[in-house]
């Protein structure tokens, strides 16, 4: 049998983690039920489909490996000097002709660009409500990156407030953006209550109660 020619260096995955919840299985497509109306004119079919995906981060991998290591990795264009978190592996400036960028470790400091207080979310996030979501600019970056702001009452979030980036304990990290969050920088104090803060507080209070009712 002819030796198969390899066009790329084979990758050897030596650190392998599997933290899938128990009972989640890829059973393939299956019709798992139906319902028919009392006049027997309308039928609904229940289709179940569950699939494990492999997201191959490829050239973006340093960012996600950085998360596992408790670092925020960004990139910088050697030509124009622009830097980004989230990282770009090629420069966005058209005059740089898609220049390859360099990976750099970013400081764990950021500043709120804008914020919101979520009282509803996707199915996987409902139990964590209310969530303060901010878009913050990591020091040195040209762009903002979204993440949760912890360590604050939801109505105390402010435009422009200084933040620090905090990572989960190493053993709990999964290599996703949820491995870190923002917290107010040392020394930051919330401003006094205002009518807007009272309004947000009033909107948020029922959310705490509602979350308690979730199984």
């Amino acid at each position: 049998m002819a030796k198969t020619k390899k066009f790329v260096k084979e990758v050897n995955f030596t650190t392998v983690k599997d933290f899938r919840p128990k009972g989640v299985e890829e059973t393939g497509l299956a019709f798992v039920g139906y319902e028919i109306s009392d006049d027997r004119k309308v039928m609904n079919q229940k289709l179940h489909y569950d699939q494990l995906y492999t997201i191959r981060h490829g050239w973006n991998s340093p960012f996600f490996i950085g998360l596992v290591d408790g670092k925020i990795m960004g990139t910088k264009c050697p030509k124009c000097g622009d830097a980004w978190v989230p990282a770009r592996t090629h420069c966005w400036n058209l005059d740089c002709n898609l220049e390859h960028t360099k990976w750099i470790e970013m400081p764990l400091k950021a500043k709120v660009h804008t914020w919101t207080v979520a009282g509803w979310s996707g199915r996987s996030s409902l139990k964590r409500l209310p969530i303060v979501l901010v878009y913050a600019v990591v020091e040195g970056s040209k762009v903002a990156i979204a993440n949760e702001l912890h360590g604050i009452k939801p109505w105390d979030a402010e435009f422009g407030m200084p933040l620090k980036i905090v990572f989960k304990p190493k053993e709990e990290r999964v290599g996703a953006v949820t491995d870190f969050w923002y917290e107010p920088a040392e020394g930051w104090k919330p401003s006094p209550m205002t009518p807007e803060k009272e309004r947000i507080k009033k909107l948020v209070e029922p959310v705490y109660e509602w979350v308690k009712t979730l199984q």
Binding site: H113, T114, A118, G122
Partner: protein
């Protein structure tokens, strides 16, 4: 001065030498120098393409969200065409020479290439067909594609079928499916759903433009109340009530400053529209067609945070635009459409619009991007109710996404059809009364919008 050149400077692949008719007037040359990569600027924005694009008919199924469903997708498409045939009795299925299918997510349809199911059900085997997908701007992009097909001279009679079946999963799961159109590596797990991203953008926009929660709540009430005159609208078919600004303010928090009633609806629905040449329109439906005089399509970043300092925008509009608050792609595509339609002052020259009110806040942001108001007069523009039925430029008389519904692939088609009804005086026939008819409507804007403002199209439709 007009001349033909052989160009290898343009954005097209260099090895393809093409001949393009360009106008080398000083103004155009300036644009060329400023931004060589914007093909529309140097290609005279399409207004040298002689073939006019017309909309000559269209209809939707009722829009709804329900566990039983009320038709199959192919059945719904067939019923939309049957209704169109009642309005346009001379139209024959055999006249179609291209079908464009407008559908957003396979996750809702649990069927890949579902357009193939619809297409052969309609008896159209042999006819060319393809699907267009562009997030929330899928419908607008399908109209853009159909218009290009007609303008190019390749096709004369193009049918568009748009649909989405969002009630195949629960609302919370549905929100998460839609959020798969955000960058899942960086955003899906931290925000979870689009309303949160939109709320973050709107919170700063409202502060910067001195717009209050009540100001945008009036938009939410307006669109739902307009829908109460539209029997196909989801709001009419379900909640079925007139609401006030106070009702919006009291609805549950989704993500500050957005409450439940500031959000559009999740919907099952199908739509069909006929896009043709002027020659065909005059022959088949001479008294009930409108023209598409301007079409613009533009793009922005997938992650809203990435549009800060983006060189492409800075080059075009200067620093600090679109920030994280403005819809740059809406402004850019509107400018293109206005230029083609020779609109200089949109506030005065446009009579109404059917626009993408995914959220009450984004409808207000769209007003600004369309050039209807600016930072200084935005709040007053809202308080004067200029976009209500009694105002000078009614927006979403058909109910919009908050009232009619938002079955993503069908939405832009629905908006275009409503605008077509306005421009052909068909509103009293299609709605319950003439309450939501815009008096003496001559020019309308149709807007379709995707992502966090990631892809946006604008169209200028005119009465003939």
């Amino acid at each position: 001065m007009k001349m033909f050149i052989v160009s290898n400077l343009l954005w097209v692949r260099r090895e393809r030498k093409i001949t393009i008719d360009i106008d080398l007037s000083p103004k155009i040359s300036k644009y060329w120098a400023l931004s060589q990569w914007y093909p529309t600027e140097i290609r005279k924005l399409g207004d040298d393409m002689a073939r006019k694009v017309c909309i000559i008919g269209g209809a939707t199924t009722p829009f709804d969200y329900g566990p039983t469903g009320f038709e199959s997708i192919e059945g719904g498409a067939a019923e939309c065409i049957r209704e169109t045939m009642k309005d346009v009795p001379e139209f024959r299925m055999r006249d179609l020479d291209l079908m464009i299918y407008s559908h957003f997510s396979v996750h809702f349809g649990h069927q890949l290439a579902a357009e193939w199911v619809i297409h052969d059900h309609l008896g159209l085997v042999g006819l060319p067909h393809f699907r267009i997908e562009n997030g929330g701007n899928t419908g607008g992009s399908a109209l853009y594609g159909a218009a290009l097909a007609v303008k190019s001279g390749m096709h004369d009679v193009v049918g568009i079928v748009g649909w989405e079946t969002m009630d195949s999963v629960g609302q919370s799961q549905g929100s998460e499916f839609i959020a798969l159109a955000s960058d899942i590596r960086y955003e899906l797990l931290v925000g979870g759903i689009y309303p949160i991203y939109y709320a973050a953008m709107a919170n700063k926009w409202m502060r910067d433009n001195k717009v209050t929660e009540e100001d945008v709540a009036s938009i939410a009430a307006k669109n739902r109340n307009n829908a109460m005159d539209n029997p196909k609208a989801q709001w009419y078919r379900n909640e079925h009530k007139y609401i006030t600004v106070d009702d919006v303010m009291k609805s549950r928090l989704i993500s500050y400053p957005i409450k439940k009633y500031d959000c559009c609806l999740m919907t099952r629905g199908v739509a069909f529209m006929l896009v043709t040449t002027e020659e065909y329109a005059k022959k088949i439906n001479p008294d009930y067609y409108c023209t598409v005089d301007g079409l613009g399509l533009s793009s922005c970043t997938i992650r809203a945070g990435d549009r800060l300092n983006f060189p492409g925008w800075t080059e075009r509009y200067g620093p600090n635009y679109p920030e994280m608050t403005e819809f740059g792609a809406c402004r850019a595509s509107a400018e293109t459409a206005y230029k083609q339609a020779k609109i200089k002052n949109p506030r005065k020259e446009i009579d109404f619009g059917e626009i993408h009110d995914a959220f009450s806040t984004s409808e207000a942001q769209i007003y600004k991007a369309l050039g209807l108001a600016n930072k200084d007069n935005m709040a007053q523009f809202l308080r004067d109710k200029e976009t209500h039925m009694e105002g000078s430029i009614p927006m979403n008389p058909g109910g919009g996404l908050m009232g009619y519904g938002h079955p993503v692939g069908a939405t832009g088609i629905m908006s275009s059809i409503e605008a077509y009804y306005q421009l052909t005086d068909m509103i009293p026939k299609k709605h319950l009364s003439s309450k939501t008819q815009v008096k003496d409507a001559n020019t309308g804007v149709v807007n379709s919008h995707a992502g966090t403002g990631t892809s946006i199209s604008n169209f200028i439709l005119r009465r003939v």
